[in-house]
Symmetry: C2
Subunit: 229 residues, 2 copies
């Protein structure tokens, strides 16, 4: 469902060129759990942003759900993301002026134009799945780190995306909450064929995935198949 | 070096009172590695903020380095923090308009009034210890999650504090960087008697501490001694 061919990404920092990704080629199958692992600074977040059409590569082609997203303009990319993808950002990226409920509801209003009653159903259902229903009227700055992370997880799933890009989705979670999130994701994959792409250092997630790609110095050093169906 | 007696902390969220900490009493010995563990939302960050004089309890007394910090006014608390404490925040809290170098240098200018040449020495030394020397001129938004975390670690140590409050200091780090940070902290404890207080879900840290306090529902449920000197 995702094909990356010779992806190169160079950032400019001051007068220096930073090649965050040098040459990445990888295919991702629909309905799989795939994890990119690697040292801090190895390019995982950069890669997820490119797959998720949030950023464009300096070179190479990215095909997601049969769409060459490099050919889309910025408005088309935004529409494509809204209709197909869900994101859990490494820094959560919650909107401080909206409550927990409103943060999770937002993509349903903006993208799916879901009617109010149905929105409430969906958001409440996700909130209880991540054990945050009693916190729904709080603002992000009134939440603990792990509570913000769980809200970010719920928000990523609210539009029933085909593909979820999850950047360190359990970094701030205790054991129990981490497994709750992982099991929620497995259920979505089993029931609806959702594809999950992780960037993580958490061995709890790595133990649950189908394929592990090791990223180091901007290239994929090795790919291992972990489970056998 | 730290004594907490009957600490209670209640937040107000809308019309509801949230008792983040209900009754916490604990002593922390100088030069130890102490970790608070517990579920997401159990009060760990709140407790660290109170120990670190960043927040005041609703009830109870906090004594740090023989000072009853509850009796200090806000200006005195800021001075006390600057002279005695170092903080690694769960969300890093880096200043976006300053470079990596300037972020780490900041406490030395503001608190210690260290002269320029000496500041450069200290900052460069810490930067190389967290393996970030080649990133010193970048801005926080040009860094990966783990790179920001390492800058936050360096900044906490720059004033040679007596006590370091570390809130999830390894959440975004790969195995190698996490152990590099832990070993740096152990070295400081062994050489200079620095006390480290962690709030963490990371079993890598928990495996290295002297005492583990389990926080749940706003009280310490149990305390375990892990090492025997
Ligand atoms: N400003 C605030 N207003 C209202 N409630 C708050 C506020 N800050 C924290 N809380 C609540 O206090 C409780 C404890 O929060 P705290 O951040 O200390 O948890 P934590 O143990 O650090 O969790 P985590 O492991 O998820 O970081 C949580 O239920 C949180 O929602
Ligand atoms: N806007 C930017 N400008 C310059 N360099 C950048 C920018 N964004 C990222 N980088 C650099 O690109 C490299 C890869 O960053 P990336 O965030 O993808 O790493 P990562 O694998 O996600 O790391 P972590 O595990 O620490 O989150 C890093 O060296 C980082 O400093
Ligand atoms: Mg990252
Ligand atoms: Mg916390």
């Amino acid at each position: 469902i995702i094909k990356l061919l010779n992806i190169r990404k160079v950032y400019r920092a001051g007068e220096v060129d930073v090649p965050a990704l040098k040459d990445v080629t990888v295919d991702i199958q629909k309905g799989t759990f795939v994890s990119f692992v690697g040292p801090s600074g190895s390019g995982k977040t950069t890669l997820l942003n490119i797959i998720g059409a949030l950023d464009t590569p300096t070179k190479g082609t990215v095909t997601v759900a049969d769409t060459n997203i490099g050919l889309l303009n910025s408005k088309e990319r935004a529409m494509f993301r809204g209709e197909n993808l869900g994101f859990i950002f490494q820094d959560f990226n919650l909107m401080p002026v909206f409550t927990v409920f409103e943060n999770i509801e937002y993509p349903l209003i903006m993208v799916k134009k879901t009617p109010k009653e149905r929105r409430k159903e969906i958001v409440h259902s996700l909130l209880s799945k991540v054990n945050m229903l009693d916190q729904k009227d709080k603002f992000p700055d009134q939440l603990s780190g792990g509570q913000k992370q769980r809200v970010a997880v719920a928000r990523a799933l609210t539009t029933s995306p085909r593909i979820v890009l999850a950047d360190e989705p359990t970094a701030n979670l205790d054991h129990e909450s981490a497994y709750m999130v992982i099991n929620l994701m497995k259920k979505l994959r089993d029931e609806s064929g959702v594809t999950f792409i992780f960037s993580t250092h958490d061995t709890k997630i790595v133990g649950e995935v189908d394929i592990i790609h090791t990223l180091e110095d901007g290239i994929i050093q090795k790919s291992e198949e972990v489970k056998y169906g």
